[in-house]
């Protein structure tokens, strides 16, 4: 096994080891020690991941050398359980297990283990007074194992298995304080919402399994890589994978991502999930698990059809918009961050749908850093404020907890797109690609509505800057609004040390070689699919600095004209889009930040004034109540079920009961007639037969002696008799 794969495998298994140890001996290890063990395991995992990354990069260089050296990603699979025949298979297939390691895996490992390590360290302090301290680290260990297994898994089945495992961990951790009714409700809500999404995943997986078996990822890409052109695909054995089925499969698999990444119809669980401990929110519900949906879409990206991609884009767009709007009016610090997460996830999904594979995953990585930072920062604030989460209770905290305030500000700047912070680069990439997409499609289809795919994300950038700055200003700036809380606020190095690490990454995360590695991933995919330099399933137009496809443009007539043009001169199109977007992003940052600071620096002074304006107040209520999604779902789904059941109840009560009563009544009359007949005519016969039955029974019950040996005797006799008969018949 090559060294990077080996190291990553070890990194995956270490948290499992800590999980096992803590599960059996956690209680005995007690309060700080269990945490130290968990942290040591994930820290060792992080070290392994970093060494793997170095060795990976060293194995061919992170630049062109890697490409030219022809190093393929590591794909190891071996058959596990024999299964039946699929559609296109002549021999029985196997459920495979496998590893798949490419640059994306390596970088995800580094990201996940780093964030996990920070969160572990943070949790030791944050959870120190919790009676179930060891159990918390047990769950964290299981979660880290599942997440890393998800990332390293080489087949869709494995993805699904670990997918469910992270879902389970999320459930356990949201409901960690299950004594709180709201927490256990939130856990159930998250679980149910995820199940809805996973149902779609299962449908997609089922379609895929019927056609392909449990193929490993490279096989999948190699066979279905041309899905992006939108036609039917002939697979082995002369079977055709119809485009409609491909689309349904793609949307089905994406449904899983909708559930896990909290996209539009199922986004309601994520804000509620903030009932869990804050480190959990940081680790699972901001940085890693919710990003798993985007990661999944990234993995199946080459086999998505254009229709499926359009669905992905639209879902992402809707999510990003509504979440950003709702975030404007939330007063709970964690809810603001939660909706901001949903919004950013919508951004990534949108980018995926637009074909900006790299933008989405780039944003995923950077977002993981600054969102983990923001959540841990909010955790620090909440810890300082004795578990008070309402923004109106804060204010002026920066004097008390300066490190938290500073790092939180860094996070805010990063997410808002302060130039040359990490968020700036990733958001810029997405917007550039959105602009290119919008322009090429608008020109090709003669439909200006495609420009919405650029305009709305840009608008959301303004909103993001605004609500993040609002959050920071209300928390740290201005005058203290709750003096008791303010006086007792404090922070500790255990809490802000991880923050500093994450803040540094939030600042510099855009400049480390994330983009290069993502580009390498695309090349590696092409290399392992052995397509002679064609980038399977990836639109080169949107992947910066990739050389164009080797084949000339005439060989791919199926693509829209505008996209072909863009692909022909990717650098020109990029350049112009870049200039366009640069000003929008910077403008969004300045305008949003400035407005928020100006409005909220004096606390709620200006907002109270604005509130006197009725339409504004109505809109505020609308957003504050989360656009009434919960009420909507309650009334539609819960209420619907209730209504149907009450309808059924009424039907039962008035129609069926009436019929039954009538029949009963008629029966009663008939019965009284027949009763007379009965009494004098039938009874004689009945009593006679009853007596007969009783005497037969009295004889027969002797057989049912309850004696085992009696039964065996009878069995034996029958056996012997049967043997004799058989012998007489067959063995003359």
């Amino acid at each position: 096994m090559p060294l990077p794969a080996l190291l990553l495998l070890v990194a995956t298994l270490l948290p499992l080891a800590s999980f096992v140890v803590l599960m059996f001996w956690g209680k005995r290890l007690g309060n700080p020690l269990a945490g130290y063990i968990g942290t040591a395991a994930i820290g060792a995992s992080f070290v392994c991941s970093v060494i793997a990354m170095i060795s990976w990069l060293g194995g061919g260089g992170s630049g062109e050398a890697h490409w030219e050296a022809g190093i393929k990603p590591i794909a190891i699979s071996f058959p596990w359980i024999p299964t039946g025949l699929g559609i296109s298979q002549q021999t029985a297939g196997y459920m495979d297990m496998g590893l798949y390691v490419d640059s994306l895996t390596v970088i995800m490992f580094a990201m996940v283990t780093l964030v996990s390590t920070c969160v572990h360290i943070f949790s030791i302090k944050y959870m120190e007074e919790d009676p179930r301290f060891p159990r918390f680290f047990t769950y964290l260990g299981l979660f880290c194992f599942s997440m890393l297994g998800l990332v390293i898994g080489g087949t869709i089945l494995q993805l699904f298995v670990f997918w469910e495992l992270v879902g389970l961990c999320s459930y356990l951790l949201i409901g960690f304080w299950w004594e709180k009714k709201s927490a256990s409700n939130a856990a159930i809500k998250a679980f149910v919402a995820n199940r809805v999404g996973d149902f779609g995943f299962l449908i997609g997986f089922g379609i895929l399994f019927i056609y392909m078996g449990n193929a490993s990822l490279p096989t999948l890409w190699r066979v279905l890589g041309s899905a992006g052109q939108g036609g039917d695909i002939a697979i082995a054995g002369g079977v055709v994978f119809p485009a409609t089925m491909l689309t349904i499969m793609g949307i089905g698999l994406f449904c899983g991502a909708i559930g896990k990444s909290a996209q539009f119809p199922l986004h309601v669980w994520l804000p509620d999930a903030m009932e869990g401990p804050t480190p959990v929110s940081a680790l699972i519900h901001a940085a890693t698990m919710v990003a798993a949906g985007v990661y999944l879409v990234g993995r199946i990206f080459p086999i998505l059809t254009p229709d499926a991609k359009m669905v992905v884009a639209i879902i992402g767009l809707i999510t990003a918009t509504i979440a950003a709007l709702i975030a404007l009016a939330q007063s709970d610090i964690k809810k603001v961050l939660a909706y901001s997460t949903v919004s950013q996830l919508g951004y990534m999904v949108l980018a995926m749908g637009l074909g900006s594979w790299m933008g989405a995953l780039f944003h995923l990585i950077t977002h993981a850093f600054f969102k983990a930072l923001l959540f841990l920062g909010s955790g620090s604030v909440i810890h300082a404020a004795h578990h008070e989460q309402e923004l109106p209770q804060y204010g002026g905290l920066w004097r008390k907890i300066p490190f938290t305030a500073g790092t939180f500000l860094v996070g805010v700047l990063a997410i808002a797109g302060f130039p040359f912070f990490s968020g700036y680069f990733s958001k810029d990439t997405i917007l550039v690609h959105a602009a290119m997409f919008a322009r090429s499609h608008a020109e090709a289809m003669h439909n200006s509505w495609y420009w919405l795919f650029f305009i709305i994300p840009t608008g959301i950038a303004y909103l993001t800057a605004f609500y993040m700055m609002r959050c920071w200003t209300l928390t740290f700036a201005g005058k203290p609004r709750n003096h008791h809380l303010h006086d007792h606020a404090h922070e500790s190095p255990m809490l802000w040390a991880p923050l500093v690490v994450l803040a540094a990454l939030s600042i510099f995360g855009g400049k480390i070689s994330v983009q290069t590695m993502l580009r390498n991933t695309i090349r590696e995919t092409a290399a392992i699919c052995d397509t002679q330099g064609k980038y399977v399933g990836f639109d080169t137009a949107y992947q910066q600095h990739l050389p164009g496809e080797v084949e000339s443009m005439e060989t791919s007539p199926g693509e829209p004209a505008g996209e072909t043009a863009a692909a022909g001169h990717p650098d020109d199109a990029l350049e112009s889009a870049h200039h366009l977007v640069l000003w929008y992003v910077t403008g969004a940052f300045l305008v949003g930040m400035g407005a928020a600071f100006a409005i909220f620096v004096r606390g709620y002074y200006y907002t109270d004034k604005l509130m006197q304006f009725a339409p504004f107040r109505a809109m505020h209520t609308f957003l504050r109540r989360k656009m009434f999604f919960d009420e909507l779902y309650n009334s539609v789904f819960v209420g619907g079920v209730r209504m149907i059941s009450s309808l059924c109840g009424a039907f039962d009560k008035y129609v069926i009961d009436m019929v039954v009563n009538a029949i009963g009544w008629a029966g009663r009359i008939l019965a009284s007639i027949s009763g007379i007949y009965d009494k004098y005519v039938v009874d004689g016969a009945v009593i006679g037969s009853g007596k007969l039955a009783w005497s037969v029974g009295a004889v027969a019950r002797g057989l049912q002696s309850g004696r085992l040996r009696g039964y065996v005797t009878i069995m034996l006799l029958s056996l012997a008799a049967g043997l004799v008969v058989a012998m007489a018949l067959y063995l003359r």
Binding site: I81, T713, L716, L717, L719, A720, L723, M727, L731
Partner: protein
């Protein structure tokens, strides 16, 4: 046991000469007598612990028969699971459920007569059936080499699913037995 295995293993090579066949046959009869005799002992002995000892002997005899059929792994499993595990468990059961050490439950005389008659009848029928079935012509076809690998690969290959099911079953049995046998005091006994 010691001698027999060696001889069985040794003489399995090549075409058996007359003496080998004789020894093989003799060993078969020794083990068959051991198994059958102890089985009869199981049937007739009154004392339950003696019954268990007879069963042990029968198990050992069966293990010898397995050896004669070149199923040495199976013979070892028979020893370790049956003789070393199940039987000990049963003796535990005996000791936990005896009021006095030498308590006997005697069957009635009529039962004995009827039972023995039935058993004799069944035995007659079975043996007649076997003798008349013409199976004496069957010859040994599987080779004399015994590759434990074959067994292992079959267990983890073709029989993987039953194998896993068995493991699940054992787990269920473990939990179930522990639950069933959980010490519940009889009523009236001091709590």
């Amino acid at each position: 046991m010691n001698t027999t295995l060696a001889i069985l293993a040794q003489n399995s090579a090549g075409a058996p000469d007359g003496a080998t066949a004789l020894i093989n046959t003799a060993l078969f009869y020794v083990f068959a007598a051991m198994a059958v005799g102890s089985a009869i002992g199981v049937m007739v002995s009154r004392n339950i612990v003696r019954t268990a000892v007879c069963l042990l002997m029968a198990l050992l005899g069966v293990a010898g028969l397995y050896l004669g059929m070149h199923a040495e792994f199976l013979a070892a499993v028979q020893l370790v699971v049956y003789a070393g595990g199940t039987l000990v468990l049963i003796i535990f059961g005996v000791m936990l459920t005896n009021n006095s050490t030498f308590q006997l439950y005697r069957p009635k005389r009529l039962e004995v007569v009827v039972g023995s008659g039935l058993v004799a009848m069944l035995a007659t029928v079975l043996i007649t059936a076997i003798l008349r079935s013409g199976m004496a012509d069957r010859v040994v076809t599987s080779g004399n080499t015994y590759a434990i690998q074959t067994l292992g690969e079959a267990l983890l290959g073709d029989y993987l699913v039953p194998f896993e099911l068995i493991s699940v079953l054992l787990l269920a049995v473990m939990i179930g037995a522990a639950y069933l046998a959980k010490g519940r005091r009889r009523e009236g006994e001091g709590q």
